[in-house]
């Protein structure tokens, strides 16, 4: 080709330059549009790209006992993690961390395998690291760029197993729970109350999670620091004050025979506050913190003694003789008996009603008895007659009115309803026949379809110590000015109530069944019960329910003790009740606590018994 004329070349060059200018101009404009005009929007996108919101758990509210002692608190727990990096650099970091955190070479190998398996998440090197190790690590911070120490609040229960059943336990909220309305607004990974008070007062104890941002890369690996200040600080949960006496709970945990199952409830007569609520066997709620070991969980669930089962509020037992007080109270309320009145038929060991012959537990017979004597002797024959005077229908209706077929309304997430007929219709519904009038003979002495929780029985006895009214037992202390809410009330004169108490008093007097559980400083009155459970289970449940207070003063504590297969209410249950009440009251009145408390203990230890000692 001939060389083009320079002028032609110039024209073509000019066209080429114009083309170049157009192309570069388009590019420059396009970059201007995305970087300058819309730059801020993309900058935002870039931030949200790399920052992930991480929730900062709020410390749960602290739980205090009635004297302000901490029962459940939060302690810092330190987790040492390593950010993902090149494997050889992680290996060298771990090897250098070893001496500080106490990792041996096999543990380092294990961790490296974890690191290889998951290259995205930070590698958790050590959970619950010792404070000293963390402090040492902080000093050498510059040497460990990829290492982070995260501080998380961790629940700690001071009373350990003594408080297991009332505290319940905490754990990570489950997927199923998140779908329930109770956990609306909760997020996966949050620690929530699973049982006991932790569950009952979850909304109050939880607090509000804080928010922190961490930097992540394209595959979601965390690369930023944990240690940054949170964008929004967590708001701790509200504290919870209980009516419970922590040391009393620990004392009961110590004295309750560990090879027996059962429950102990102590109520404050003044307001229905629960001083102690213990179920044996118990569990250590600390074991659940930070995820319970699956082997331990299996063990707790498989244990035939069912340690996770709170017998004080879920266990239902035939009340047996302890129910006679209810029969007596109902009779007095209906006016079918006078306290001083002696039943026409004396106890001869047997009682004939129509063609039915019923027995008293004391074969020689009690002879003629008044109300107090009948309670003191637990005379069946007296109560058969009392039952007949009340009549089955009225007994059932009145007892139902006292809540024997209901829950007490305690502030725990789970409470069993008592088993008790609400009306005569119960028999056809449950057993398929209309009851004969002689059913009242069973009902009057606490037999028949009648199973009660230890808490319910304690509540009933508390009403006798009060003016007949019964507040719902509660674990959380009443707020200032908060009225005691009455669940139900017996319509009894002070005279009648005194008669009932007098009957209970004789039980612990010389010759009474619980005489040897008498205390020096306190007037303990109460009723033993031995619940027979049929031919298949020859060993009876042992009850003692009583009222304790200073001499010649109204009772201050209602106590119920139930020992499964304890055989004897007086030998097994009454000493526990006496010792627990003594322990509580001594400390309340500033009297030195002693290990030798009951009359029987004095006799066995050869320590002189001083009889009635007045509170200074």
């Amino acid at each position: 080709m001939k060389a083009a004329h320079p002028e032609v070349r110039r024209q073509r060059a000019r066209a080429a330059v114009a083309g170049l200018a157009v192309v570069m101009g388009i590019l420059a404009l396009a970059f201007f549009r995305i970087q300058v005009v819309k730059g801020s929007a993309w900058a935002l996108q870039s931030e949200s790209n790399r920052l992930r919101v991480v929730q900062v758990p709020a410390p749960r509210g602290t739980i205090f006992d009635r004297y302000g002692r901490v029962i459940a608190e939060n302690v810092p727990s330190f987790t040492v993690s390593l950010f993902p990096a090149a494997l050889d650099s992680m290996q060298s970091s771990l090897e250098r961390l070893g001496p500080i955190l106490g990792l041996d070479s096999s543990r380092v190998q294990e961790l490296m395998e974890q690191a290889r398996a998951d290259r995205r998440q930070p590698l958790v090197v050590l959970r619950n690291a010792e404070y000293e190790a963390v402090a040492a690590l902080e000093e050498l911070r510059a040497n460990f760029p990829g290492v982070s120490v995260e501080m998380l609040p961790k629940r700690r229960y001071v009373g350990d197993a003594a408080v297991g059943h009332i505290m319940g336990y905490v754990g990570e909220v489950s997927g199923a729970e998140l779908e329930t309305p109770r956990f609306e607004g909760y997020e996966a990974g949050m620690v929530v109350g699973k049982d006991g008070l932790e569950r009952q007062y979850e909304p109050q104890l939880q607090g509000v999670q804080g928010v922190r941002y961490v930097e992540v890369d394209a595959v979601g690996r965390m690369v930023g620091s944990f240690d940054r200040e949170p964008a929004a600080a967590a708001v701790p949960g509200t504290d919870l004050h209980l009516t419970v006496d922590l040391e009393l709970m620990e004392f009961i945990h110590r004295i309750f025979p560990s090879n027996y199952d059962g429950a102990v409830v102590l109520l404050n007569v003044a307001d229905g506050g629960i001083l102690a609520l213990y179920s044996s066997p118990s569990y250590d709620p600390n074991a659940f913190v930070g995820g319970i070991d699956s082997a331990l969980w299996e063990e707790l669930n498989r244990d035939p003694r069912r340690p996770l089962f709170n017998r004080a509020v879920l266990g239902r037992y035939p009340p047996a003789s302890t129910f006679k007080l209810a029969t007596a109270a109902i009779a007095l309320q209906l006016g079918v008996v006078d306290p001083q009145e002696v039943m026409p038929v004396p106890c001869t060991g047997t009682f004939r009603y129509g063609n039915v012959v019923k027995h008293c537990w004391w074969a020689p017979g009690h002879g003629y008895l008044d109300l107090a004597g009948a309670i003191a002797n637990s005379c069946n024959v007296y109560f058969y007659q009392l039952g007949l005077r009340i009549g089955l229908e009225r007994l059932v209706e009145e007892a139902s009115g006292l809540g024997f077929g209901e829950r007490c309304g305690v502030d725990l997430p789970f409470e069993a309803r008592g088993v008790f007929p609400a009306s005569l219709a119960y028999w056809p519904e449950q057993f398929g026949y209309m009851p004969f009038e002689n059913e009242v003979l069973f009902m009057a002495i606490g037999q028949g379809p009648n199973d009660q929780t230890p808490l319910k029985m304690a509540q009933f006895y508390m009403a006798i110590a009060r003016d007949g009214s019964a507040p719902a037992p509660h674990l959380a202390s009443l707020e200032d000015g908060q009225e005691v809410a009455e669940a139900w009330s017996l319509d009894l004169s002070e005279e009648s109530l005194a008669a009932l108490r007098e009957g209970l008093r004789q039980v612990t007097q010389t010759g009474g069944t619980a005489y040897r559980s008498t205390l020096e400083y306190w007037d303990i009155i109460g009723k033993t019960g031995t619940a027979q459970r049929g031919p298949q289970q020859p060993i009876s449940h042992a009850w003692f329910i009583g009222l304790v207070g200073p001499w010649d003063a109204p009772p201050e504590v209602a106590v119920a003790v139930m020992v499964e297969e304890g055989a004897s209410g007086s030998a097994m249950a009454a000493p526990i009740a006496a010792k627990a009440a003594d322990f509580y009251l001594r400390r309340k009145y500033g009297i030195a606590v002693d290990t030798i408390q009951t009359l029987r203990e004095h006799q066995e230890a050869g320590v002189p018994w001083r009889g009635r000692v007045r509170v200074p």
Partner: protein, 410 residues
Amino acid sequence: MAWYRRWARDPALVTLAFALSFFGIAMIFSAGVLNAPSPVTEDAWQRQFLWLILALAAFTVVTRVRSDWIEWLSVPAYLIAVVLLAATLAIGTGAGTAEGVGRWIQVGAFRFQPSEFAKVAAVLGLARLLSAREDSPRNLRDLLAPCALIAVPLALVVLQPDLGTALAFLGILFAALFWVGTPALFLFLLASPGLALILSFDVRVWSVYFVGLVGMVYALRYRLYLAESISVVFANLAAGTVALPLWNSLEQYQKNRLLVFLKPALDPRGAGWNLIQSKVAIGSGGLFGKGFTEGTQKRLDFLPEQHTDFIFGVVGEELGFVGVLAAIALFSVFLLRLVRLAERSPDPFAGLVLIGIFGTWLVHIFVNLGMTIGIVPITGIPLPFVSYGGTFLLTCWVMTGLSARLAGED
């Protein structure tokens, strides 16, 4: 600096090439600064530096070859390139970020991309063919030979498949045809089947276009031979009809790239990811950028292929619009210098080589920068001098050498 002048032959062009190369190494270094470093990207800048030394050696050799030898060598070079491209289809391997496609030929420890060499050869071959002509093309038939010359390597590259490089071949063809004075109308008619192919994605748009084209051809019936008119119309018709089967014959990743170009949100974690993250990186750079090596999108590995095809994402994020403008200006000055040299050169072969190189690089720059911000579909095409890649840097410097050598002949 007389030695530099002597060595470089065109100091302005070579200095610009140095500036671009070092800019590239700096950006490749920055691309390797990640929060979770990987050994592949961390040391890439050092390897690129070694390749630059090799490229300078190649440049020295090329600039010492007599220009008539270059002209003579263009025919065998072209033939060798075609053979190598054909061989690549049979024995090619994937590599690096383009693992899946066979673009490389492995000879012992040495691995190179024949398509890069083919670009140089195509520039030379086309320049040789067109400079042999007596005058400017007068009809479409005159365009047959140059088109065929480009079509052979282009088809072989498309089969690899490497659509980006194929576009670079088209850049060479149109730039060279323009430079020999092909009327704009012919260039349009030449491009029209391609246009028809794009427009055929909407039948109505294509129909309007086709009617317009037929009208235009009819209006120009005295300037075109009948056979030419028929060919143009038929080619457009064919392009419109084969569009669907052609679309179906595309690899899924190619379809996805085109689809997400129209709508990135279609597949944000998959094919749309590159585009979205690249836009986020560049957009968040703002006016002044986040600072050299400080790009968060890049550091956190959001930016894909950040040392190769998407290196400009790093530029946009870390240096901001100011840095982008500077880079565009640098490229513009470099390309302007090529045009200036072509204009000055009385030798038609030299002028055609220079303008061919201009054409291919203009396509590279436009497509590469355009795809990072979504104004051009994503095709794997590197940025001259800047993107990491040995063969490509070598090719850039060989082309610079050819330009400097042929420009010197005035």
